[in-house]
């Protein structure tokens, strides 16, 4: 029993924090909201070796585990860094296992991948589904026939500018992963300007079938869930630190506001939720490496806890700061924008909560 980070993991985390600290990412988020283009942080990722984290060593990658990628995602989340890992990392997982020819370029980041994710069947919705453009009802996954794929996946993270798309489609009811090097991408950036999004359309588009199992395809979905979870916990950390600092310095009625129970208990609640989410990141990390059977539950629970922690923390950060926390010049609104959008991507926090229930109900049956 040892849940402590290994020396290598601590190094990976500290290096990520160091590399990202050299960029004013939150200021960039503010400027991007005003129309300035967001600086491209992919070179930072490439230099740090993050594109190859989940690619096996034989294929030129680091051969690491989902938890290691989560550590990096958490650091990105801390500073709202728009590094395109949410698209690339789950895609690289399938490209590596699936015998993709250009895997070396994926590993070194010279080729950037995006992941047109499909939600695995559950106990209520029994089909593979993808994000719809709008509305509660999920869309059918694209249809695959041989080497070609047709259909649309909306709100795909990091799709604009990606060199290859891993798309999950369905053929005869079974999921198939295809690597497609050309697809029509419509830019769909919205609300959180640090997050690159696109609607990706395939119209009989040709691709390469990846030799992966349905279980691996499902795992890629849950890797994406775990990455969002980790990213969110990082953002919560920043909100909490910022709020504590302010609560010590801001006085009202002759006392620092942090001495009032309303503020103190709110921030303790942020701590409670973020510590719980952190525990579930460990669960997801462990299951991602050791237990394919528990990965759906673990990754979904991590996303559920982290998503709700981020929602709570983003609002609490604004609240503790009073009026000033809701102004353009303050950092808190960019945490809030992050929270609002993250909550609705890749099935949404809500679907992750439903999945937790579904997994437990299925195993209780």
């Amino acid at each position: 029993m040892n849940l402590a980070l290994s020396d290598e993991q601590e190094f990976l985390r500290d290096a990520a924090r160091g590399a990202l600290a050299r960029h004013k990412t939150i200021d960039a988020a503010r400027e991007a909201a005003d129309g300035t283009e967001l600086p491209d942080l992919w070179p930072v990722a490439v230099e740090a070796g993050w594109p190859g984290l989940l690619v096996s060593e034989d294929n030129g990658g680091a051969g690491l585990q989902p938890f290691d990628a989560m550590l990096v995602a958490q650091e990105c989340g801390r500073v709202l860094a728009g590094v395109q890992l949410l698209g690339h990392v789950p895609a690289s997982f399938l490209l590596d296992r699936g015998g993709y020819a250009r895997i070396g370029e994926i590993a070194d980041g010279s080729l950037r991948a995006a992941f047109c994710a499909a939600r695995p069947p559950g106990d209520v919705v029994e089909e593979w589904t993808v994000e719809p453009r709008k509305g509660l009802k999920r869309a059918a996954a694209p249809s695959v026939s041989g080497d070609s794929v047709s259909g649309e996946v909306a709100w795909v993270p990091d799709a604009p500018g990606a060199g290859v798309f891993v798309v999950i489609g369905v053929e005869d009811g079974r999921p198939v992963a295809l690597a497609v090097e050309g697809a029509a991408v419509q830019d769909a950036k919205v609300y959180d300007h640090t997050r690159s999004l696109g609607h990706v359309t395939f119209d009989g588009t040709a691709g390469t079938r990846l030799d992966v199992s349905p279980e691996q395809i499902a795992s890629a979905w849950y890797i994406a869930q775990a990455l969002i979870a980790a990213e969110s916990v990082g953002t919560v950390e920043t909100g909490l630190e910022m709020s504590i600092e302010y609560a010590k310095e801001r006085f009202t009625f002759g006392r620092a506001i942090g001495s009032y129970q309303a503020v103190k208990h709110t921030l303790t609640e942020v701590l409670r939720q973020s510590e719980n989410a952190r525990s579930l990141l460990l669960y997801a990390g462990w299951a991602g490496e050791e237990s394919a059977a528990e990965f759906p539950l673990a990754a979904s629970a991590a996303r559920a806890a982290a998503g709700s922690a981020l929602d709570y923390a983003a609002r609490a950060t604004i609240g503790v700061h009073g009026g000033i926390g809701a102004t353009w010049e303050h950092d808190a609104p960019y945490l809030f924008r992050r929270a609002q959008l993250s909550r609705r991507l890749l099935g949404g926090t809500h679907d992750a909560v439903d999945r937790v229930a579904g997994e437990l109900l299925s195993s209780a049956a």
Partner: protein, 407 residues
């Protein structure tokens, strides 16, 4: 229990409705086809429209007749508000002036102030703004640091910064609360002044909110000179004057629109348009809870009105209606965006704007926490928090705070 008008009220309503029916073509169009878009044009048109409403007796309904009002009761004000809403035309532009600052001047101002300012205020010729809040004096309003010093000739020099000021960018005058004596406890050394917003040394800067819009302003005062007769009320009695303004703020809210436009039917329509959502038990449950909160506020408003008609002034508990409304609207925004997905967050969309606007609205006019303290103490009779600032001269208090942060 009766939601209907008395015969007199019905008659008044008919009169108001008839006037609006006849004149609504003259009102500025703010939404839909042919709507004005330029801010200056909008302000000009709304000022002109306020003038017409005032001429017709539909502004300052509860103001005494001697100041151009109608000398009527709160119920008539509500009838006017309702009919203006039903006619689909804008109300007066200067709700803050006519609803809160004018009544403050009526209560505390000099005769000269009343005759100089009230008429142009009522008619929209001069718009007013309220200069109370500061960066370090929001919930704790008495912690004001902006200061005025009297010179030998009896005039005053004002320095400091105000914030969260609505309408400052086109206001002619403001009512400003400043510290005139720092050597007495903090509630005691405050004074209220009338300040012309075009005076030398006044700088107005838009304060952008999450949405990117500047819904409020910051106003800076740099050696702004005011004559001795700019004092509203008595020197060093500004706290009492400010309390009058805040009391009228509660009345204005009590008489105002139900739920700040956050209406359960509007939310239900957005969700009902999605056939999957309207049968989803989780979505329905969330919608039902939000709608229950908002519906209750409608009837809380009627209760307030009943009380006002009986001459009762709403207590601090009236503030709970805002808490209920804002929190329900926050939940509604989350629900609608959960149903519609990221599309709901698209720039310039109504839901995106609402979602961005609400976090700021939450603390506008005092945080929920302070309100709950006040209600707990004044309405429920619970004991106060220990106050470390009681009876201590303001200057000493500030020094203590600085020391505490440094340590």
């Amino acid at each position: 229990m009766d939601l209907n008008d008395s015969p007199e009220q019905a008659e008044y309503r008919t009169k108001v409705r008839a006037w609006l029916e006849e004149h609504k073509g003259e009102a500025p169009v703010l939404r839909g086809e042919g709507a004005l878009t330029d801010e200056n044009e909008i302000v000009a048109a709304r000022r002109a429209w306020q003038g017409k409403l005032a001429e017709a007796g539909l502004a300052g309904v509860t103001w005494p007749k001697e100041f151009g009002g109608q000398g009527l009761g709160p119920i008539e004000q509500v009838i006017v508000n309702q009919e203006i809403g039903a006619a689909g035309v804008p109300g007066i532009l200067d709700v803050i002036g006519v609803g809160m600052l004018g009544p403050t001047i009526i209560a505390h101002g000099s005769e000269e102030q009343k005759s100089r300012y009230l008429g142009p205020m009522l008619h929209g010729d001069e718009v007013w703004c309220q200069l109370f809040s500061e960066p370090a004096a929001g919930s704790d309003l008495a912690g004001i640091q902006a200061r005025a010093k009297q010179t030998d000739d009896g005039s005053w020099v004002v320095n400091g910064q105000k914030v969260w000021t609505t309408n400052a960018q086109f206001a002619s005058f403001g009512l400003i609360l400043v510290r005139t004596d720092a050597d007495v406890p903090k509630h005691k050394g405050l004074t209220m002044f009338v300040v012309p917003m075009d005076a030398e040394g006044v700088t107005i800067r838009g304060l952008r909110q999450i949405s990117g819009e500047a819904e409020f302003n910051e106003v800076f005062f740099d050696d702004v000179k005011l004559p001795a007769d700019a004092v509203c009320g008595q020197v060093n009695s500004g706290w009492g004057t400010a309390l009058t303004t805040l009391m009228y703020e509660r009345v204005t809210i009590g008489l105002g629109s139900e739920g700040l436009g956050y209406n359960s039917n509007r939310f239900a329509a957005a969700i009902g348009a999605d056939p999957e959502a309207r049968r989803d038990s989780d979505v329905r449950h969330r919608l039902g809870e939000i709608a229950t909160e908002l519906l209750s506020i409608k009837f809380t408003g009627y209760r307030t009105l009943t009380a006002l008609q009986r001459g009762q002034i709403p207590g601090p508990e009236a503030g709970l209606a805002k808490v209920t409304t804002v929190n329900a609207a926050v939940k509604a925004g989350d629900l609608i965006a959960d149903v519609l997905g990221p599309e709901a967050l698209a720039d310039d969309g109504e839901w995106s704007y609402m979602i961005s606007f609400l976090p700021g609205l939450k603390s506008a006019g005092g945080t929920e926490e302070i309100l709950r303290n006040t209600i707990g103490e004044r309405v429920l009779g619970l004991p106060p928090e220990p106050r470390l600032d009681k009876g201590i001269p303001f200057s000493e208090l500030r020094a203590k705070e600085k020391e505490a942060v440094a340590s």
